[in-house]
Symmetry: C2
Subunit: 335 residues, 2 copies
């Protein structure tokens, strides 16, 4: 965002999985009986998807996908966004595309014909709101590098990348190309580590990106911070990672979040809530609030506060896409 660069048309361009969430309540005994790791995210194949869906109660279908959720939050706040992700040419692909466009986000990637179908995430929601996710990636893992429009990447203040998408090969290549395009254009790159399993598999890649100065804003939760740094101690992990990224944001569920940007450290408590309905998308929506405030050049503590307000909205209802007027909510809380 240097003064010599032209003013970008978009606030955030995000690259991520294009997923429809299939959500149903479940008790913990069911989650255990099905051999799922409560609270975790597991990639599943077609057979396992059929097995789990058959065991699932009556469900609701709501568009999801980590970066896509974040963009939906950003768009709800008034930011101008572009989403890049791959759906198949099928009914769930149509649902995903409709929902993302209906929030005012530009989405141009053509649906992929034939098999596999559009990605879905089977989410079992426990009575305490904890979500256990089983992701069938389907078409989403075939986002080709050629789907990227480098001029579009250059035309957004922030490039936002979802760590989940680093796992499959084609989107990884696409994301590397996007990072290069953003850097050449002098834009910021924001990255969310997504899940410890991604770090297990691609930690070296992530550390290399960080060491090369390719990531300007890094989002992690406590578990991911530990996985990336190898430090069991939270403060030790922060101390190791923070000097390597211009802005580090670590979310800590009900303990709130910490942000470190150069010499500035700030923290926020989680916004109080009576009843947690469904935690799906809490991290995604935190990122939405944070990035929105960032685009608006707010202070680090304000960015964290905006993140907490948006995260609270999403855990108060079913589904990972915002239902309330986030803009009004933020105006009320941050003034």
């Amino acid at each position: 965002m240097s003064a010599t660069r032209p003013e970008p048309t978009f606030d955030v361009v995000g690259i991520g999985n294009a997923i429809v969430d299939v959500m149903a309540p479940a008790d913990d005994a069911t989650i255990e009986a099905l051999g799922m790791a409560r609270g975790g995210m597991t990639l599943i194949d077609t057979d396992r998807a059929h097995e789990l869906y058959a065991a699932m109660g009556p469900a609701k279908e709501i568009s999801g996908g980590s970066a896509a959720n974040t963009l939906a939050g950003l768009a709800g706040l008034g930011a101008k966004c572009v989403f890049i992700g791959q759906v198949a040419d099928d009914q769930l692909g149509e649902v995903f595309a409709h929902d993302i466009r209906a929030t005012g986000i530009r989405f141009d990637v053509a649906a992929r014909p034939g098999d596999p179908p559009t990605a879905r995430c089977l989410i079992f929601v426990s009575p305490d709101g904890q979500r256990t996710m089983n992701t069938y990636l389907g078409a989403s893992q075939f986002l080709p590098a050629k789907a990227l429009d480098e001029a579009l990447i250059a035309d957004a203040s922030i490039l936002y990348l979802e760590g989940y998408l680093w796992d499959p090969e084609e989107p990884r290549a696409a994301m590397k190309k996007a990072i290069a395009a953003a850097k050449v254009a002098g834009r910021e790159v924001a990255f969310t580590l997504s899940d410890a399993f991604v770090i297990e598999r691609h930690g070296d890649d992530f550390r290399a990106l960080i060491d090369a100065g390719d990531i300007d804003i890094l989002f992690a939760n406590e578990v991911e911070l530990r996985a990336l740094t190898g430090d069991q101690d939270f403060e030790a992990g922060l101390a190791k990672l923070a000097p390597k990224v211009p802005t580090l944001v670590v979310t800590r569920s009900e303990k709130g979040a910490v942000g470190i940007s150069g010499e500035t450290r700030a923290q926020v408590l989680a916004e109080p809530i009576d009843h947690v309905v469904d935690t799906t998308g809490a991290g995604d929506m935190f990122a939405a609030g944070f990035l929105y405030a960032r685009v608006k050049d707010m202070r680090l503590d304000q960015c964290l506060h905006a993140g907490a307000v948006c995260a609270r909205e999403i855990i108060s209802h079913y589904g990972a896409r915002p239902e309330a007027d986030l803009k009004a909510l933020l105006a009320e809380k941050l003034g």
Copy 2:
């Protein structure tokens, strides 16, 4: 339910449209701008479906269909049910079939290959909870009479029919066949008039069924009562229709409901509610509560009360399928 008949395996077998609801909030200006009749139900073709979907905000997909909703409520209450309806062999068909089976309802009708796709209902929900429905019938209107298993019809206490499905030709033939099978087996036939437009088109059929004594329990709302009897006055309409059906039930939204069975007349007030979220499925869930109590041989006033309790649950949240434990709710209210 004569004592000489064998005890049936099922409580209710229902025949209806197999529809997935696509629901989004909308303000009244949008509903007007799109030329929709607020609060009504309109059948739409493919082009209009595309037009309305494009104008719709981010949506949720939740299984629906009038009789299917009623069965989902009945199953939630503990009744043993069978659903007969037609989905296409596509993703939304899979969603519908999953959701109905996941509630414990038997559903054997094979998905129909090829076009048209599974039915969907685009529902615009106003801030006051009023729903405006636009139904694309798709595969649902091709339920063939051969999909009916007459032995199955004979093996349920009550055959429940949705008036909506009287409109397309093939399901109408299937329903006539089902009525005959139920009558031969000495079972009760319950019928919901569904919508005034159906009565406009098929009122003569309905009056003939009623005059022939084919309908044992008739569900109507005030508008439908007026359309069927031609009487503008509520009491005059009741007086005309009640002698022709063993049990007549007329729902009146926030004014509750009236039931007349022979010499017995009962009424119930609507259950109090703080905030109406979405009225979609209120009539369907009233029928669920009523029929459940009926199967349990409860008094007419108790049947009405059970209906009101179930209707209240459904209007307290988004979607026409119950979320709360209806059985516990009913036990608490009716003791």
